[in-house]
């Protein structure tokens, strides 16, 4: 089937457009951050800029969604056949999850810390990972792949948000511990003043991770079902599969540490971050440097 070049171009323009909107959103978040001193005393500090930032983020997310859509239309298939497409879809997944959470709770404090990595990821996608729109190799044509990758895209989004919240939690708890010990707040004071306290962050991070664990389990299972129909075995310890398993074990260990061992705060946070690191490793390092059947990075 032929590639619709004009759709592919529209998609590129939309992706650039979303980056524009996100850049302005980032400046607004930064302004809000700069004004938002002592939000507990005066919660309206930095509100206006925060609201503008949220609107811009919504706008950027819609544009990015359209960009992802046109990318798919250009090849008449789902837009995750190579790493470029996975990156734009994945970033869209992160931003969509963030926007959905924002409908239920006030997460303006989180905006700056998500939008920075999102912009980074889009920038990386469009410069380093960019691949022209093309058809898929036959093994990738399967609706189980569609299910597997959609679940992976959403998981990637939620994992990233969990990771960012966890990092914030560690910064804030460092400040809190120093203050409790009678020391100066230290270098994360500015952050700590503008985000919820460590306990709230800790619980938020737990909720995010507990939500995503069943989804990731499903992602791995769907991948196994696809692998069985494509290669004749559901599990072959291909590097990609191995690292997906390691990620799964990592998050299971985090949940165990939290629920059954009762760890809170930094000790559990380190496990969550280690698990997130294995996820990122699988995406960037394994895709590029390890040999395996899954290698379809398009480079």
């Amino acid at each position: 089937m032929a590639i619709n070049e004009s759709y592919a171009q529209i998609s590129n323009i939309l992706v650039y457009g979303s980056m524009g909107a996100y850049t302005f959103a980032m400046f607004s978040f930064a302004t809000s951050f700069a004004q938002g001193r002592d939000t507990e005393i005066n919660p309206s500090n930095g509100r206006k800029a925060g609201n503008i930032a949220m609107s811009l983020t919504w706008l950027g997310t819609f544009i990015l969604g359209a960009g992802v859509l046109f990318r798919g239309l250009s090849a008449s298939r789902v837009p995750w056949g190579n790493m470029y497409e996975f990156s734009i879809s994945g970033t869209f997944g992160v931003m969509l999850v963030l926007m959905l959470i924002s409908l239920k709770r006030d997460i303006r404090w989180l905006g700056l810390f998500i939008i920075l990595p999102a912009l980074l990821s889009l920038g990386l996608a469009i410069t380093v990972l960019y691949t022209e729109s093309a058809q898929l190799i036959p093994a990738l044509k399967s609706y189980w792949l569609l299910i597997h990758v959609s679940a992976a895209v959403v998981s990637a989004g939620v994992f990233s948000i969990g990771g960012v919240v966890t990092i914030l939690q560690m910064m804030v708890s460092r400040v809190e511990n120093r203050v409790a010990a009678g020391l100066t707040p230290g270098r994360f004071e500015a952050v700590a003043r503008r985000v919820p306290n460590a306990e709230v962050l800790d619980v938020f991070a737990y909720k995010v991770h507990a939500f995503v664990f069943p989804l990731w389990t499903f992602t791995v299972v769907a991948g196994a079902i696809w692998a069985r129909s494509a290669w004749g075995r559901y599990w072959g310890w291909d590097p990609k599969e191995t690292w997906a398993f390691i990620t799964w074990v990592g998050y299971a260990a985090y949940l165990h540490a939290r629920i059954t061992v009762g760890w809170k705060g930094n000790r559990a946070a380190w496990i969550a971050l280690a698990a997130f690191a294995t996820f990122i490793f699988n995406y960037f390092i394994v895709n590029f440097f390890f040999q395996g059947l899954h290698v379809y990075s398009g480079k």
């Binding site: 089937m1 032929a2 590639i3 022209e132 093309a134 058809q135 190799i137 036959p138 093994a139 044509k141 399967s142 189980w144 809190e176 409790a180 306990e199 619980v203 737990y206 909720k207 507990a210 939500f211 664990f213 069943p214 389990t217 499903f218 299972v221 196994a224 079902i225 696809w226 069985r228 129909s229 494509a230 290669w231 004749g232 075995r233 559901y234 599990w235 072959g236 310890w237 291909d238 590097p239 191995t242 690292w243 398993f245 390691i246 074990v249 990592g250 299971a252 260990a253 949940l255 165990h256 540490a257 939290r258 629920i259 059954t260 061992v261 809170k264 394994v286 390890f290 040999q291 395996g292």
Partner: protein
């Protein structure tokens, strides 16, 4: 800062409650057992067993399993790419044998890897059984007795009502009980006893399915571990190449590669028979991915057993043929050029299509033709290119995988092919020890090359295709799927359902009647306060009270 340090009394109460709620709690204590010093063998075994089934050990084993699977993604694995393993040995002659001895090239089949997951499995079973027993008991018992002072719990509230305690107990508690039942709480009412002012309350509990889901999840992991192990012990994997127009039977001798599980019995191969009638391959012909295969489809006719009726269907990528426990997957394709060879007198001595192995993505392929019936014997070593070009650097090769300008580039050898030595012969290479090269030529379809030295002639008659099929059997794969589904269902129940307890008590304070409401959860559950809130609301609206005080200790501690 949690309120632990601020409210020790509260916490110790909650603690005793917690350990009752946590079925695994008494198991966890085993980990602090000291090793027995003079208990003898039985004591040691028992001690080790107890160590094994602790949560901590299970976690460590799980972590170990993750770490242990890393080297398999770093080093080439025999089961996946034996060629790369050989290459690794060539490139690292000193380290490779050492790595080999510790199983680095077959990590997932190594004894230490198996040891970890067998221990994990035992540990899991050791955890599940006692927990299941406890859960079975607790899921049939009534909600627990209320703590003496509800307002000391972290999430609690109280409202004042203008009724007497016994009125509340007799009129309101049944209403409340009905209301809670509609919200799927299990309830029990303790009637107000005149001698005990704290005795009038409703106790409720819900969320038993959380622990059920949890147990199912862990059991499912055991099912998956066993299925994976069983599949690799009793299953097999192999590869068969089938030319268009020919048929194969599923017996060992037909396989080009065959890897049986340790306990696989070759006799149990289902002897199905397959004829490849057509192989269709479409290629992308424009853009940067030109030449990529877009789709393959193999049209076959087959019999499941020698006596069953002939059936027809196509096998596509991602669309295998399943017969019994075996499945047949189309994983690749290639060309089988058809040659006619005549001897010096013009007698036809060879007439067949020969499977050529693809060497690159444009299907430059190599193969050999061996003619044993001539004297001297004749061997042809051939490069076949479906869209042929010859360049200085690369020599003859193909520019595109489809048959646009097919050519065969042949070198002819005469002498002894070495077929009689009894050594197993590789059909894809020539053993040149006793052969002499007599010439080189390129021919297109329909052309004939008259061999030098009066050795006869070769004609490229046409080009057939062949399909590469993986045939695999995994007798336990459905169990693995069942395990996976159970794991997902179980983990959703285990993480999303909240196990909660709640009490509503009527008391007299300062001569007034008060209702106290409190709730708690064993788990990470920030929304417990909303339970207290909604029940308080219910009580308030029942008694027409508009103002009430929510006493969440959490807030007090801030």
């Amino acid at each position: 800062m949690t309120d632990q340090s601020k409210n020790p009394q509260n916490e110790s109460l909650a603690d005793s409650e917690l350990s009752e709620l946590a079925p695994g709690a008494e198991l966890q204590q085993h980990s602090v057992d000291a090793a027995p010093i003079a208990l003898g063998a039985v004591g040691w075994v028992r001690w080790m067993w107890r160590q094994l089934i602790t949560m901590r050990t299970a976690l460590q084993l799980l972590f170990l399993l993750a770490v242990a699977s890393i080297p398999g993604s770093v080093f080439p694995q025999r089961t996946q790419s034996p060629l790369k393993v050989r290459q690794y040995f060539d490139e690292n002659p000193t380290t490779a044998p050492i790595l080999d001895r510790i199983g680095m090239f077959d990590v997932y089949g190594s004894s230490w890897f198996s040891a970890i997951y067998i221990l994990l499995m035992i540990s899991l079973v050791g955890c599940i059984i006692p927990r299941a027993r406890v859960h079975w008991k607790s899921s049939r018992s009534l909600p627990p007795v209320a703590p003496r002072n509800l307002l000391r719990l972290r999430h609690s509230s109280t409202i004042q009502v203008s009724k007497t305690p016994s009125e509340v107990s007799q009129e309101f508690f049944p209403v409340l009980q009905k209301y809670l039942a509609t919200k799927r709480w299990r309830t029990v009412v303790s009637e107000l006893d005149a001698n005990d002012p704290t005795s009038g309350y409703v106790s409720a509990e819900r969320g038993y399915l959380r622990e059920t889901g949890n147990l199912i999840f862990h059991l499912a992991i055991v099912v998956i571990l066993i299925s994976v192990a069983a599949g690799s012990l009793f299953g097999y994997r192999g590869q068969i190449l089938v030319r268009e127009g020919t048929s194969i039977t599923n017996v060992l001798s037909q396989y080009d590669a065959f890897t049986p599980g340790r306990l696989f019995n070759t006799e149990s191969l289902v002897p199905f028979n397959i004829t490849l009638t057509d192989l269709a391959v479409t290629y992308e012909d424009t853009g940067i991915k030109a030449g990529t295969a877009l789709d393959y489809a193999a049209t076959i006719s087959y019999r499941e057993t020698p006596d069953s009726p002939l059936e027809k269907r196509t096998i596509g990528v991602n669309d295998p043929l399943n017969i019994g426990n075996s499945s047949m997957f189309l994983v690749g394709h290639g060309y089988a050029p058809r040659f006619e060879v005549r001897d010096a007198k013009g007698n036809l001595v060879f007439d067949d299509a020969v499977i050529f192995l693809p060497q690159d993505s444009n299907m430059t392929s190599t193969g050999v033709v061996k003619v044993a019936d001539t004297d001297p014997q004749l061997g042809l070593q051939i490069i076949f290119a479906p869209t042929a070009v010859v360049t200085e650097q690369q020599g003859p090769h193909s520019l595109f995988p489809d048959l646009i300008d097919p050519k065969a580039f042949m070198s002819a050898w005469i002498g002894d092919l070495g077929l009689d030595t009894g050594r197993p012969q590789n059909v894809y290479t020539l053993d040149k020890t006793n052969l002499k090269r007599i010439g080189f030529e390129e021919i297109a379809v329909g052309e004939t090359w008259d061999l030098p030295k009066n050795a006869g002639s070769v004609k490229l008659v046409g080009v057939d295709q062949f399909a590469t099929f993986n045939i695999a059997s995994d007798p336990a794969q459905n169990w693995a799927l069942v395990g996976a589904i159970l794991a997902i269902v179980g983990v959703i129940a285990g993480l999303y359902i909240q196990r909660r307890r709640m009490w509503v008590r009527v008391v007299t304070r300062d001569g007034q009647t008060w209702i106290e409401i409190a709730a708690m959860s064993r788990y990470e559950d920030v929304d417990v306060s909303s339970v207290v809130e909604s029940i308080t609301q219910f009580c308030a609206s029942h008694f027409g009270v508009e103002r009430f005080a929510e006493v969440t200790n959490e807030e007090k501690s801030h």
